[in-house]
């Protein structure tokens, strides 16, 4: 390289001057860095003070910091458990049971809220005056009353309003099971469950050991949906090439239902109906009052917010799109499904993520109706029995943070798929 300087470089870079300390404050190039380093320093000092304060106070109280309590025997029972658990197992295991209860409630709550929200959001724009006003009434009632109140109301309706199991008993029972299969009682709702004559056993994954039967069913369902999607894209290709869409509806139905039916029959699946035994119903699946109250309370409450988000998303699409679709001869239903909603999704998804996160965090209200979620097990009984508030709360915060970030990440992946592709 030659020693001659490039004229373009000398033009853009100012002449090199000697660096002085005062430039850290007065030179715009360095000032922002100085301020940021100073702020970081102050923040770290604050954190250090907090940590020092906590550790010295713990020392003053003669307490130690540690997570050993998680391996101690829990001693308490949990009514709703998705994995094996009894009172002789550890606090850590109890926390896991609670965590799974939180996750199940969050997932089912989000599904319910989304279904209600999308239907209500679309109906609110209905040209039918009664329908749109009724939905408007629902939205305003539910989103303007705190969710805890709704949870308590649903809990009270279940506990106070439904018949006791004894009402189903005797020669002239005062309560009847729906279709002889579903019993709604003040102890919760009993629905039939699926039992298998052939058990394929379980796989041991260390902490949890899911049943192979259900894993097989999930795998078959996923494969069926994948095949159905391939069929649809094939039909799209044929339509694009020839202008004629091959008939697909019965093939899709067959692809989805035939394999799963074969699996069910091969495994000898049958329904187990709930029946009265002793104090209560036995058999079937027991959806407890606490779960129903939480699920309905959170689902319907959050659904009201989602309805507004969906309505806003649809209104954000210009009316010209609808008119253009009508001009092409699309019917209103197809216009909504093929033209409006796909575009509206771009507006809907980001606020929807925050609603999902809100719902997930609101599951921690479970203790109000005795729902044994993570907050009630780890953050409630375990903390209380072991006296490890600091450790328990930190763990609780970390788990909720991780859960929320996971949901947020998954939803962002989806958001990136539906958002406008700018090229």
């Amino acid at each position: 390289m030659s020693s001659k300087t490039d004229p373009r470089q000398t033009a853009s870079v100012p002449a090199k001057s000697s660096f002085t300390l005062s430039m850290l404050l007065y030179d715009q190039r360095y000032r922002s860095i100085t301020i940021q380093i100073f702020a970081l320093f102050v923040l770290m000092l604050g954190v250090a003070w907090l940590i020092d304060n906590v550790s010295s106070n713990l020392q003053l109280l003669g307490r130690t910091f540690g997570f050993g309590f998680l391996s101690q025997s829990a001693g308490y029972d949990i009514n709703q458990r998705l994995i094996e658990y009894d009172s002789t197992m550890t606090h850590g295991r109890a926390a896991l049971v609670g965590f799974l209860n939180t996750v199940v409630l969050a997932i089912l709550g989000c599904i319910l809220a989304t279904v209600i929200g999308v239907v209500a959001g679309v109906l609110r724009l209905s040209s039918n005056w009664i329908v749109s006003r009724l939905v408007g009434f629902y939205v305003e009632i539910f989103r303007n009353i705190p969710t805890l109140i709704w949870i308590l109301i649903f809990g009270a309706i279940m506990a106070e309003g439904m018949p006791a199991p004894s009402a189903f008993r005797g020669e002239t029972p005062t309560a009847f099971m729906l279709f002889d299969a579903v019993a709604i009682t003040n102890r919760g709702v009993f629905v039939p469950s699926i039992l298998f004559a052939t058990e394929l056993g379980t796989v041991n994954l260390g902490l949890i050991s899911p049943s192979l039967n259900w894993l097989l069913i999930i795998a078959v369902l996923l494969a069926s949906f994948y095949a159905a999607r391939a069929l649809v894209s094939h039909a799209n290709r044929v339509q694009n090439a020839t202008g004629v869409r091959p008939t697909t509806w019965w093939k899709i139905l067959a692809l989805i239902f035939v394999p799963i039916s074969v699996v069910f029959i091969a495994l000898g699946a049958h329904l187990q109906l709930p029946e009265l035994r002793g104090f209560n119903f036995a058999g079937g699946l027991h959806l407890r009052n606490s779960f129903i109250a939480m699920w309905l309370g959170l689902g319907i409450y959050t659904g009201a917010f989602i309805a507004e988000i969906v309505r806003g998303g649809i209104l954000a699409i210009s009316k010209g799109q609808t008119e253009a679709a009508y001009a092409l001869g699309l019917q209103p239903g197809r216009t909504m499904r093929l033209v409006i909603l796909p575009q509206a999704l771009r507006v809907i998804i980001p606020p929807l993520i925050s609603q999902y996160l809100n719902l997930t965090k609101n599951t921690s209200l479970g203790l109000a109706v005795g729902y044994m979620d993570l907050r009630s097990t780890l953050g409630g009984i375990t903390i209380n029995q072991t006296g490890r508030e600091l450790e328990g709360m930190m763990l609780l915060m970390l788990i909720y943070l991780a859960l929320s970030l996971t949901i947020s990440a998954l939803m962002n992946v989806y958001n990136n798929r539906v958002k406008l592709k700018e090229r």
């Binding site: 003053l60 109280l61 003669g62 307490r63 001693g75 308490y76 029972d77 949990i78 009514n79 009894d86 009172s87 002789t88 279940m158 506990a159 106070e160 006791a164 003040n186 102890r187 035994r277 002793g278 104090f279 209560n280 036995a282 009052n289 606490s290 203790l367 109000a368 005795g370 044994m372 009630s376 409630g380 009984i381 209380n384 029995q385 072991t386 006296g387 508030e389």
Partner: protein, 339 residues
């Protein structure tokens, strides 16, 4: 300017926090002018506000006795209602000076949670209450029952043990407070309500028709209930412990709220004289004055009077003394000597 104010506040807070740590509990209470007592959220007979909003009850009465011993004013107490979940953090963090809230004395609470139990003011045990029309006569017939249980209690653990040891299954319905448990039980959301027998009796007394409910004969655990303080202030622990002793000793010695003023003038019995501060100067050793015990007894009566007026014969709850009778009468209540 704003920054200076912030830094100033920060420094002041740190300083106050530092000073507060250096003060003993008794000094803090005297400076504050009142005792802060952790109480039940509402258990009629033991600790609940009455129609005028004044806290009444057996555990509440003990706090009033402590306040009378310190301030000569049994009303110089503010009560903090605590659920079974929140009570230990409240005591450990210093939010309350003393926890007087039917709390069972256990190893873990004493050693691991670092509390000191000042003694036992009520010997209790866990029982079960069912509706009479259920036709259940024994806790061994409860297989498959739905049980309402307050979370964060020893009863929760005893319940799990009882059903496991006897090979029975049950469905727990966890609730947060006694009031909620009663409501769920009355609504029929659970077949059985389990907690300490004394609390069952007090709940049943508050029901519309108490005779519709049966307390099963089995008592499945020992539940020695007593007031607790946190570790680290032995003098404060002594004050709480000996206030309780003073109430029991007063009953043993026949000192009542009626005759205490007269006996405090001096009597022929040396132990009464030491208890009431006529001789010995015991109050000064505690950091109080010598009439501390006399004032406590004058305020709430001796142990027997307090029991009778809040949960015993003179109250709607009508609990028997049973194990809680004086040792001399065949019970287990026994005060250490004032000597």
């Amino acid at each position: 300017m704003k920054k200076t104010v912030f830094v100033g506040t920060f420094a002041a807070t740190a300083l106050v926090a530092g000073l507060a740590n250096a003060q003993s509990t008794l000094e803090q209470v005297i400076d504050r002018g009142e005792l802060i007592c952790g109480s039940n959220t509402g258990q009629v007979g033991f600790g609940a506000p009455d129609a005028d909003g004044v806290w009444q009850g057996f555990d509440v009465g003990f706090c009033r006795a402590v306040a009378a011993a310190i301030f000569d004013d049994p009303m110089a107490v503010s009560f903090v209602p605590l659920t079974s979940q929140t009570r230990f953090s409240a005591l450990a963090s210093g939010e309350v000076d003393v926890l007087s809230r039917n709390t069972t004395w256990t190893f873990v609470r004493d050693v691991d949670l670092q509390f000191n139990f000042a003694g036992i003011n009520y010997y209790d045990g866990q029982g079960f209450m069912v509706k009479s029309d259920l036709g259940v006569g024994s806790a061994m017939e409860l297989d498959g029952a739905t049980v309402c249980i307050e979370t964060g209690t020893t009863t929760e653990l005893n319940l799990a043990d009882f059903f496991r040891v006897n090979g029975m299954s049950y469905e727990p319905v966890p609730v947060d407070t006694a009031a909620e448990a009663q409501q769920q039980y009355l609504a029929g959301a659970c077949d059985v309500y389990t907690t300490d027998v004394s609390a069952l009796a007090s709940s049943r007394a508050s029901f519309a028709t108490p005779s519709d409910h049966t307390i099963l004969p089995e008592v499945v655990s020992k539940e020695p209930l007593g007031p607790a303080v946190r570790h680290g202030d032995d003098n404060w622990y002594d004050i709480i412990k000996w206030t309780l002793m003073a109430l029991v000793a007063a009953e043993e010695l026949g000192v009542t709220s009626e005759n205490v003023a007269e006996l405090a003038e001096g009597s022929d019995v040396p132990e009464i004289n030491r208890l009431l501060g006529v001789e010995g100067g015991f109050g000064a050793m505690l950091g109080l004055d010598n009439e501390w015990a006399a004032r406590a007894i004058a305020a709430v009566g001796n142990y027997g009077e307090l029991f009778a007026n809040t949960i015993g014969d003179n109250s709607p709850i009508g609990l028997e003394r049973g194990m809680n009778a004086l040792f001399a009468d065949g019970g287990m209540m026994y005060a250490m000597p004032f000597r």
